[in-house]
Symmetry: C2
Subunit: 195 residues, 2 copies
DNA sequence: CGGATCGTTGATCAACTTCAACGGTCGTGG
DNA sequence: CCACGACCGTTGAAGTTGATCAACGATCCG
């Protein structure tokens, strides 16, 4: 958990007192997942927010033809959840699973809302998360309606190189909203031009 | 402002006390815009959050060729801002202007953060806004990478009919990420099939 | 070693864009 | 108040982009 307190201090500029550590200790539960193991399956209700402390995961939907569409990637220090299902208590349309062996810290809905009022640092952390999430979402939406497939890929290489290194190409393609073949050809073009 | 207190109570289930009304009264400033008037221009820093009390607005970027790309529409009871610019204090890449004559309630960054700690209802309102925003963003991203142009349009007709009625077709097209001609043809198809 | 998965490549096909032209409507200035 | 210009939606034709289908080699893992 020490790395977690460090994480909180880093994002909130608030040190965590030892009483607060006690409270956090009880609210967050560690969990381990093997590669390919589900954290959430379509139809489940998402009961937890999960902070990745080690590993790599993805959130995706599956269409009628079996095609997968990646909504979100996550690695160390990213939070994973189906926000819609978590907040509304509705069955999820998404799957979340581990792409690498993964370690998490999980917190349930009630504890999450309680801690936000009890611990100032958690309030700030939440606001910070929401802020970053809002900014990132706006960027991705803008990219989706504005950029071509190639531009979206190059943009991702710049802003999210870690994802490109740790996830296979077909998942990257499904995140960009293009077919794996198209991504393969785009990379070839870009490489021939000299990256 | 009475409608605003009503708005807060509706979304937070917290009535606003008369002392709180005083505080809110000083923090929020009414503003009127004529049709086509800018609220924010590219390069400006977005200093306010604006709640639309009457009218219709849009947020959009302009590319090198002069093409417009609509990121967000807003009508009564929607908040408008470039969240990235507002939170980070960075120059905006977007324009926001009025499509109809519009009335707003505006609040600045410092007041916004102060009220979130001083007034419980504002804390709840903020959390609710962020929650809704997160859910809506996830949906739109998923639609963008999953659905065809026609499916995105039909989805928008279902979930946002007010926008389709109040904004012209070329703006709807730029919101969906397709050309105005394509949208025209899609509508013709859908109409011939019987809506 | 054998099967599954992944990335690549080619050929064909579908979706969407672009360019151009036209008619209708609306707002504005003379 | 009318006439003109600007803008909008529509339609057609041609051009691009990306999807699909199929085949193949490489790699990884059991």
């Amino acid at each position: 958990m020490n790395r977690f307190y460090e994480y909180i201090r880093h994002y909130t500029a608030h040190p965590v007192t030892s009483q607060e550590q006690d409270v956090l200790q009880h609210a967050f539960r560690p969990k381990k997942l093997r590669k390919r193991q589900y954290l959430l399956q379509e139809g489940d209700i998402c009961r937890h927010l999960s902070l990745i402390t080690k590993g790599a995961m993805r959130q995706y939907s599956v269409d009628e033809k079996g095609g997968e569409h990646t909504v979100q990637f996550g690695i160390e220090n990213w939070w994973m959840s189906d926000r819609e299902s978590f907040e509304l208590g509705s069955p999820s349309k998404y799957n979340i699973d581990a792409w690498e062996d993964t370690e998490l810290l999980q917190i349930g809905y009630d504890d999450w809302w309680r801690l936000r009022s009890e611990i100032p640092a958690m309030r700030i952390l939440t606001a910070e998360m929401d802020k970053r999430h809002a900014v990132a979402s706006q960027k991705r939406i803008h990219a989706a309606i504005t950029l071509t497939a190639e531009e979206r890929y190059l943009e991702m290489m710049k802003s999210q190189p870690a994802f490109i290194q740790r996830f296979p190409q077909n998942m990257i393609a499904s995140y960009l909203g293009i077919s794996p073949e198209t991504l393969s050809r785009i990379r070839k073009q870009a490489f021939l031009r000299g990256d």
